[in-house]
Subunit: 226 residues, 2 copies
DNA sequence: GCACCGGCTCTTGCATTCATAATTCGCCCA
DNA sequence: TGGGCGAATTATGAATGCAAGAGCCGGTGC
């Protein structure tokens, strides 16, 4: 029994979805880029059929846009979409926080505390890359502790969509400090297992992020316009 | 400029997604049913290619399951999934309620009040079909008032997934009365534009629904097992 | 000189075809 | 008579082929 790899008998379109996902995350495909089916087929060594299936799937989650008879292009995220997506992510994170408070073990809290302290250390040292990595790990730990797979998947879908804009958003020092303060409050709420409070903090944290993205989008728009 | 009809130039897979959606909602395809590609192709008069594309899309939203080399079948919703989905829907409805409170016009509130009163009348007359219809209309009005298209789409996706179980769930009289009480509270919160309160009521309302579904699933399991 | 029209090419959308895995039915053997 | 093995059938997965629409280029008329 190869229960570990489960026989790696996935269909091509499924693998292609992941592959394209990865390309989008790596920034290999940028917002607005036109997607040429033949080119991608050649690159992956598959025929157009499974690739097209994968594109349809990505389109249904909003990652790419399909124009009839004009093909696919990577979705451009608009400020309106950001305004709509961040509150949703806030609501989902708040829910994850509440569930996590109710279900997480003491050991789990200790583990998150450890990651939190390390993250703050990276903040003090001014290492954004390491900070982001821990940040991400902490959020993942929240969702894992919430124990709601559907919630996690939904959240991750949205995360991929705003990934590009989140990464290009350069934190100003003030915003960064603000984020760290948010995280301190999260930690406190979690250690007290105060679900509603954690939910509120997470919601506010997402609001701050939204503001941050808007700021950096304002600068970005000027750069892109030239 | 045909801005009204936009020339109905949709691609086949897109229409097929809607068609299959409708079939699922109508109960024409029931949970667990095997989906025969050729049969559906014959029925819709299309070839397998666009149909398969549509199936992939539906699979990505969890409406159907694809087993490699074994084809598609309508997803069976499990009690665990229900436990996971209802809190998510609660969070999304709560967000919609908060946004609606902030944005809805007085006329919009009056319109919802009208629907609400009509719905309660149907409750008094013991007409579940008419009640459900108004119920649905009110929820739709909330989301419309929230003005967040992404939120609406996400919510609707989940709604379709639990549609089958929600419809088969026969309300007990007590549960029905409970739901009406919830709605009274929603109306009150909306008319006072008390977003947080409306959010709380909606969350609780969804909790009640979850309980209802579980009750009826308990009965349903006995029936299905025989 | 510029705008508009017609053909050409490239790409997409769908149908068809081919290969392979699963299922089913029948047969053989215990 | 029941269970297991094997071949035929059927369905799925992927590739290829074909028609139609979009974009591009050059030509022509004003």
């Amino acid at each position: 029994m190869s229960e570990a790899g489960l026989i790696s008998r996935r269909s091509m379109h499924d693998e292609l979805v992941d592959l394209l996902h990865a390309m989008l995350l790596r920034g290999e495909l940028r917002a607005g880029d036109k997607i040429n089916e033949q080119a991608l087929c050649a690159r992956f060594g598959v025929s157009r059929t499974p690739l097209r299936e994968a594109l349809k799937v990505l389109a249904s989650t909003g990652l790419i846009v399909l124009s009839p008879n004009r093909g696919a292009s990577v979705a451009r995220i608009t400020p309106q979409e950001i305004d709509q997506l961040f509150p949703i992510m806030g609501a989902l994170e708040a829910l994850a926080g509440e569930l996590a408070c109710a279900r997480i073990s003491d050991a789990g809290i200790a583990e998150i505390r450890r990651m939190h302290d390390e993250m703050v250390a990276h903040f003090r040292q001014g290492d954004p890359a390491a900070y982001m990595k821990l940040n991400r790990a902490i959020h993942d730990a929240f969702f894992a502790a919430a124990g709601n797979a559907e919630l996690t998947q939904l959240y991750h879908n949205l995360l991929v969509r705003i990934h590009a804009v989140r990464f290009t958003a350069k934190k100003s020092p003030e915003r960064w400090a603000e984020a760290v303060r948010d995280h301190e409050q999260m930690m406190a709420a979690l250690e007290q297992r105060d679900g509603p409070r954690l939910a509120a903090v997470l919601k506010e944290h997402l609001m701050h992020k939204s503001g941050m993205v808007h700021e950096s989008l304002g600068e970005g728009a000027a750069a892109a316009a030239e």
